[in-house]
């Protein structure tokens, strides 16, 4: 595993992070559930809680799908190529390429979904980018989530040992231990309005 230069991380007082979607994407709840699942994978092994906010104002993390040049100096490049990018802590920006064909999987395990396709598994990319948002850089371990590349048709969503060791080097483990089902639901909450 690796880190951004200077090992930036979220300050100790920030373990309950909120995230919001840019409204102009008009994402369906089905798509938003993919992000909730991806955040849960990281909250299970860290002290973080992630809560969705309907309001961008005050959200710690802002998520959006953009095409080409979108104002951050790192333009996307059409189908395939670069899929997404994310900022280091505590900036909280997650951008995905809206020119990609995204597959909303059913939440299943990591596997090869299709032999040859340009369709990319959304959850696999989101789990990776959340790793950056929390402070991880890329890893050479091929089954690690933080390995930089993924083939269309592949799904890789479970955190590998390398990912967990890296993120716990920054923040320690999940104080609730196993992060099991019931805890998962209490840890992964979604606000109905701008309550957060």
């Amino acid at each position: 595993y690796s880190f951004f230069p200077g090992k930036p991380r979220w300050p100790k007082r920030k373990r309950d992070l909120t995230y919001a979607f840019v409204p102009q994407n008009n994402l369906t709840d089905e798509v938003k559930r993919v992000f909730a699942r991806a955040f849960t994978r990281w909250s299970e092994v860290t002290p973080f809680n992630f809560t969705r906010s309907e309001s961008l104002v005050g959200a710690d993390i802002v998520i959006g799908f953009f095409s080409g040049e979108h104002g951050d100096g790192e333009p996307f490049d059409g189908a395939m190529g670069t899929l997404a990018h994310a900022s280091s802590p505590p900036t909280g920006m997650l951008h995905l390429d809206s020119d990609e064909d995204w597959l909303i999987s059913d939440g299943g395990i990591s596997r090869r979904i299709l032999p040859v396709t340009s369709v990319v598994d959304l959850e696999s990319v989101v789990v990776h980018e959340i790793g950056h948002l929390l402070g991880l850089g890329h890893s050479s371990v091929e089954d690690a989530i933080m390995f930089p590349a993924i083939s269309g048709g592949d799904r890789k969503v479970e955190l590998a040992k390398d990912d967990i060791e890296g993120i716990q080097h920054l923040y320690g483990g999940n104080p609730n231990g196993d992060g099991g089902g019931e805890k998962k639901s209490s840890r992964q909450s979604e606000t109905s309005g701008g309550g957060s």
């Binding site: 369906t28 089905e30 798509v31 490049d77 670069t82 299709l114 340009s118 993924i150 083939s151």
Partner: protein
Amino acid sequence: KFYTNVSSIPPLQFLNATQNAWETFSKLAGCHIGEKIDGLSKLKRYFHRFGYISAAAVDNCTDDFDDVLQSAIDTYQKNFNLKVTGKLDSSTLRQIVKPRCGNPDMIDGVSEMNGGRKLRTTER
């Protein structure tokens, strides 16, 4: 576009996989230092994007297969667990054209991506 299940993906998609922006790199297979091949400057900009070549070196980059490009390929091959040949062999190009995260592998010329393994090698 979002496809909610595999069966909803139209057959056309199976062809798009070969239409990505980096597919053109495949024609550079077998290139090595000393050659001048059309398209190498685009590949240098790819390596700059992911931190393997500095901004200064990429500003007026040419289609020459030079030391800068060879060094970038060496480091890339180390980072992606490929045989370090310094050449554009097929396994390296297969990895290069794969879709990936836009975040760089190296920042300010430093790569920790394979750092742990390198350190262990040094200790050994």
